[in-house]
Amino acid sequence: MCRHDAASTAICFDGLSVTLGGTTVLENITAQIPRGGCTCIVGPNGAGKTTLLMALLGRIPCEGEVRIGVRPDGSKVRIGYVPQMMAFDRGMPVTVLEFLSMGVQRRPLWVGISSSSRRHALELLNMVNAAHLASRRLGALSGGEFQRVMLALALQQQPDLLILDEPAAGVDFRGGQLFCELLENLRGQHGFTQVMVTHDLGLVTNHATHVILLNRRIVAEGSPATTLTPPNLMAAFGAHMGGAGIDQTPCCGCSGSNGEHHEEDGEVRNA
């Protein structure tokens, strides 16, 4: 049973199970996500990571319970969501400024962008170091640029809970690294709870404050040091990953303030 202490816990999964098309994708998940931290949901392909996020977002039917805390004033928490490589029609003529104005501007975009919406959108773009993309077409952005714009859109919600599904997928090594550093800085400034699906153990080692290791069931949960141990990794990923513990992470997407990684000739190794 998940103990839901409103002050320290943002989300509780209590006996959560998801069955899709007759296949059990998640089985009896009981876990908690601490408030204000960076929780990484880790597991192999098909482990149910994205399904867990979808259950959290209320997008799929599930058994059990997902309890999300409330804001200090008793209202619902605000959620910002960055999907994995969002599928959208890249031929659609929409500028980045329009994209960031559509959710906040009352008057229709066909009469133009108001000066306040423009200012607000530029502030958001500055936050994610992407002000230079303002007038670009959304479909013309690279993977890394698009993820930053998506992050700006999520931040527009002034989220208490920021949910990211493989945010660095399809982004080159350096781009992924910068994205993760950016997220860490923003979390420090805004104090939101970050929940991130990833299979990049380097990223988890450097940035997570809490880890949920998943393979249809909970394999382990806790701090990265106690969770990413060889026995747990072997249980989640199989024999080929069992030798890679917290001290020998096989791949590194980010080097952040928590880690002490050095980049040399494109290679990252532990110091």
Binding site: G21, L57, R59, R78, I79, G80, Y81, P83, M86, A87, F88, D89, G91, M92, P93, V94, T95, E98, F99, S101, M102, G103, Q105, R107, P108, L109, W110, V111, G112, I113, R137, L138, M150, L153, A154, Q156, Q157, I163
Partner: protein, 288 residues
């Protein structure tokens, strides 16, 4: 019924061609000036949300609308839009609840309503002959009452586009993101489906079942090539739709042309579509 003769005479004065001095042409122009911006506005969202097949299914339910009108002694002017809205809302409801893909859901309902309509219509030889008008459309037979209905729909649609355009853009980019970011996606999907069904059914009278989807798609597709922003696409679609409609009406009325108005309008819109590739090619050349 309000007297629209003043409006017609203004239209006759604005376009001082011989063909525009008759009442039915002035009515047809008034109808197209209301219909063309509506199809353009909805067309932008139809293209962005890839809903061309949806509008096709609605237009083909025209026959079932006529059949239902016969069964329940309701004038087709009412039974067609009512059935169109019912079909549109049903498609959205099934799409939201079913694991089936959108085109499968639309295809099934498309087949069912078309088959029902044709089965009912084929029972009556006279009716079968009359339904020709729905296949090809005839804007020249539009009545004052039709115009008033169109004006009412135009007002409703304008309000929808003022309040809902930004939400619909959110929705067409990604429904899950829109949902999580507090856009009431279900409400906007149902509203859009109902309004699109009404626009399609009213357009059937003018353009015919066979060409109504083209009136939604072609101007919006051309606008998409020409525009670099959502703002641009919206206005380009209106310009292309209205110019095609007016030019199509005037051309089709010329003795040397003698073509069906709906078909002529679509051909002119298609010319716009071809022209719209010029900036696309130029942009591509410049970026090399």
């Amino acid at each position: 019924m309000p007297d629209l003769s003043a409006v017609f005479s203004i239209l006759g004065t604005l376009i001082p061609l011989d063909c525009m001095q008759t009442g039915f042409m002035q009515r047809a122009l008034a109808g197209l000036l209301l219909l063309a911006p509506m199809t353009a506005m909805m067309g932008v969202q139809v293209v962005n949300m890839r809903m061309a097949f949806f509008s096709d299914a609605i237009s083909h339910s025209a026959f079932a609308g006529i059949a239902l009108g016969l069964l329940f002694s309701i004038h087709p002017h009412w039974s067609m839009p009512l059935l169109g809205v019912a079909v549109g809302v049903t498609i959205v409801a099934i799409q939201r609840r079913s694991m089936l893909s959108s085109d499968t859901v639309i295809g099934v309902l498309f087949a069912a309503v078309t088959a029902f309509g044709l089965a009912m219509v084929s029972r009556d030889a006279n009716l079968a002959r009359d339904t020709q008008v729905f296949l090809y459309g005839d804007i020249l037979t539009i009545t004052d009452f039709d115009l008033i209905q169109l004006a009412g729909l135009f007002l409703v649609l304008t309000v929808f586009e003022v309040v809902g355009f930004n939400r619909m853009l959110y929705l067409s980019l990604n429904q899950t993101v829109a949902d999580v970011h507090r856009v009431r996606t279900a409400l906007w999907q149902y509203l859009f489906a109902a309004l699109l069904a009404l626009v399609v059914m009213f357009s059937v009278w003018a353009m015919g079942v066979l060409l109504v989807t083209a009136m939604l798609i072609v101007p919006a597709a051309a606008a998409r090539n020409l525009a670099r922003s959502a703002f641009g696409m919206f206005w380009w679609a209106i310009v292309i739709s209205v110019t095609s409609a007016v030019a199509g009406l005037l051309l089709s009325a010329q003795d040397w042309a003698g073509t069906a108005t709906g078909a002529t309008i679509i051909l002119i819109a298609f010319m716009w579509f071809l022209i719209s590739f010029v900036p696309v090619v130029l942009r591509r050349e410049r970026s090399r």
